[in-house]
């Protein structure tokens, strides 16, 4: 039996609806933040998020198949690679500019750098873990 889904098939509609609920959650959160209505933003995110989780868990069949998993894994790998390449050039350049007195580190950029470092520490840990397994 083929697992291929066609445009307009129930599986595709379910995936679109699930993705749409998460998009609505993100949009509601963003609009709430922009309008300075923080609690409303969190409520919108939580409401749509719970609806998305509920929708997924009440489907009788898996919402996502092996192709979706492959796409997620490939997108993740490309993300880690792209962020790594940009960081390998950006942060050393900033260090050189700082040393030459043409730029200075701000707490904000130090935070960004720390976040990137944490991403790679977790990635190396995960890489070691999946190799051991």
């Amino acid at each position: 039996m083929s697992t291929t889904t066609t445009a307009g098939s129930p599986a595709r509609r379910n995936r679109l609806l699930h993705g749409g609920l998460w998009a609505a959650a993100a949009l509601g959160y963003g609009v709430g933040i922009a309008a300075e209505r923080g609690l409303l933003a969190v409520a919108a995110f939580a409401g749509f998020g719970i609806a998305a989780i509920g929708f997924r868990s009440t489907r009788g069949e898996p919402l996502y198949d092996e192709r979706d998993d492959r796409l997620l894994q490939e997108a993740s790998a490309r993300t880690v690679r792209a962020v790594g390449l940009v960081s390998a050039v950006l942060f050393p350049t900033l260090v050189v500019l700082d040393a030459l007195g043409r730029w200075s580190w701000t707490p904000f950029m130090a935070g960004v750098g720390t976040a990137v470092a944490v991403v790679y520490l977790v990635y190396f840990g995960m890489n070691a873990a999946v190799r051991v397994r």
Binding site: A75, S76, F108, G111, V122, A129
Partner: protein, 136 residues
């Protein structure tokens, strides 16, 4: 004869992979070390020596350094990494906003920078995912 060749190729691949990773690690550690003792420019020079060493090994050898199993593990590790960090971003961003609105404490600028760093990672991921999905 064939078995000898295979063993030799495997040994070569292991050696080159160690060289590849080693050159980046040594360059990065030397860069951070020299920066912390007040020699940032020398540190950066050594960092770039490490990067150039990496590129030289990567592009200069005819031996295939990574096979399909390595790529598969890389994809799996990347997905696990982003899956683990997503809740950190969701909870961290929400807590930082709540702390501000409810006057618990002033969120340090470095924490905001870290959160925006994570947001950037997920924006890149979204673009990569949508591109792959609609291209395939």
């Amino acid at each position: 004869m064939s078995r000898t060749n295979t063993a030799s190729t495997v040994a070569k691949r292991a050696r080159y992979r160690k060289l590849l990773v080693g050159s980046v690690l040594v360059g990065a550690v030397a860069g951070v070390g020299l920066r912390s003792v007040g020699y940032p420019l020398v540190g950066e020079a050594l960092y770039w020596v490490g990067i150039v060493g990496f590129l030289a090994v990567w592009q200069g050898t005819s031996v295939k350094l990574f096979d399909e199993r390595d790529h598969s593990l890389e994809r799996r590790a990347s997905q696990l990494t982003l899956s683990m960090l997503a809740p950190v971003l969701v909870v961290g961003a929400s807590l930082s906003r709540l702390a501000t609105w409810l006057d618990w404490f002033a969120v340090p600028t470095a924490v905001r920078g870290a959160l925006y760093g994570y947001v950037t990672v997920y924006v890149v991921f979204s673009v990569a995912y949508l591109w792959l999905r609609y291209r395939s």
